[in-house]
Subunit: 198 residues, 2 copies
């Protein structure tokens, strides 16, 4: 298909990107080689640095290359509000769409026994410890409105109540079966503002 | 927007890819970090190797990490047919869509005096030397059907005739003003098969 093994290798490697098939991978590779080698090299560096050095914040499990992320390490965010999300991309969506000024906890998944995802894998012991510190007054449960997300929300609400903390859930408005990541900003902001006591 | 500077840097760097805006760059970065770090690292290596080591074939100017690409260095391709294209992506499109078994010459552009692209920049001295070797009988001119591509084709046809070589042009069928890269395979194969004497 191509006369250069390194080029064939690059086209294949680009297909690890979501939404990139063979034809767009080829266009990307040719574009970088023909017009943008400097930025191609910068992308290589950025990828290597990010893949190797980004870990999890010790407190909220969000992506961070520091022990504490900027939200947990700073003093500007409200410590009475804690919002639980399935993934860092949901956290980013809430940050971008709403005026939320509280803190977060990232599950990196949802309860799914068949996939081997239980309370340990989702970091729930760390969350329980956090709820026991006495600062959190409201646990905003922003798992996705899927079957597993709802089951996870139910479990988290029980944890909150057991600790004397008010559990809330995003208001209806998030489409059933949808993923937070793909909800438009207005809907997400509305649902966030109208969150309800569970 | 994100709490990790390395992540913000990766999202920005991904936007060098054609067709990738802020939203898809973010999705790509989160996907790799959350689910596919190994392939992210492989992509970093593939990018670095390709950007640094892929140069041009000495004979046809196609992308190659060797002095001669597989087409020029091998013995299996017909040396009487020489197809001139504007860019390596056009060469790839012809290879994928047609049964062409001849050789190629890549201009890496088209005649465009205002952009400082003249015969030297397009490697035409190398092409003239090749035409003078006596092997080529037909020069298939596959520049894009744009104003500059047509002007370049006209210039190349004169070079061919001056060397006693038959210049041909892809048959109509390639849409006017279109780019070869985006023509569907069937149309391109048809146009290639029906190329005409200039
Ligand atoms: Zn944190
Ligand atoms: Zn070659």
């Amino acid at each position: 298909m191509t006369t250069s093994p390194l080029l064939a290798n690059l086209i294949e490697a680009l297909r690890c990107l979501p939404g990139v098939g063979g034809k767009s991978a080829q266009r990307m590779a040719f574009h970088l080689l023909e017009r943008d080698r400097d930025r191609g090299l910068k992308l290589a560096d950025a990828l290597r640095e990010a893949m190797q050095r980004i870990g999890q914040c010790q407190r909220c499990r969000n992506f961070s290359e520091e022990a504490l992320c900027a939200i947990c390490g700073g003093a500007s965010r409200d410590r009475q509000l804690l919002c639980v999300v399935e993934s860092p991309v949901d956290l980013a969506a809430i940050e971008q769409a709403t005026g939320y000024r509280g803190q977060y906890f990232v599950l990196h998944g949802r309860l799914s026994p068949l996939d081997g995802l239980g309370p340990e894998e989702l970091g729930l012991p760390l969350l329980v410890q956090r709820l026991g510190e006495g600062e959190v007054e409201e646990l905003i449960i922003a798992t996705n409105p899927t079957v597993e997300g709802e089951a996870t929300a139910h479990y988290l609400a029980q944890l909150a109540r057991a600790g004397g903390i008010r559990p809330t859930r995003l208001a209806h408005g998030v489409p059933l079966g949808g993923e937070l990541e793909f909800v438009d900003r207005g809907t997400l902001a509305h649902a966030f503002g109208g969150r309800q006591l569970l």
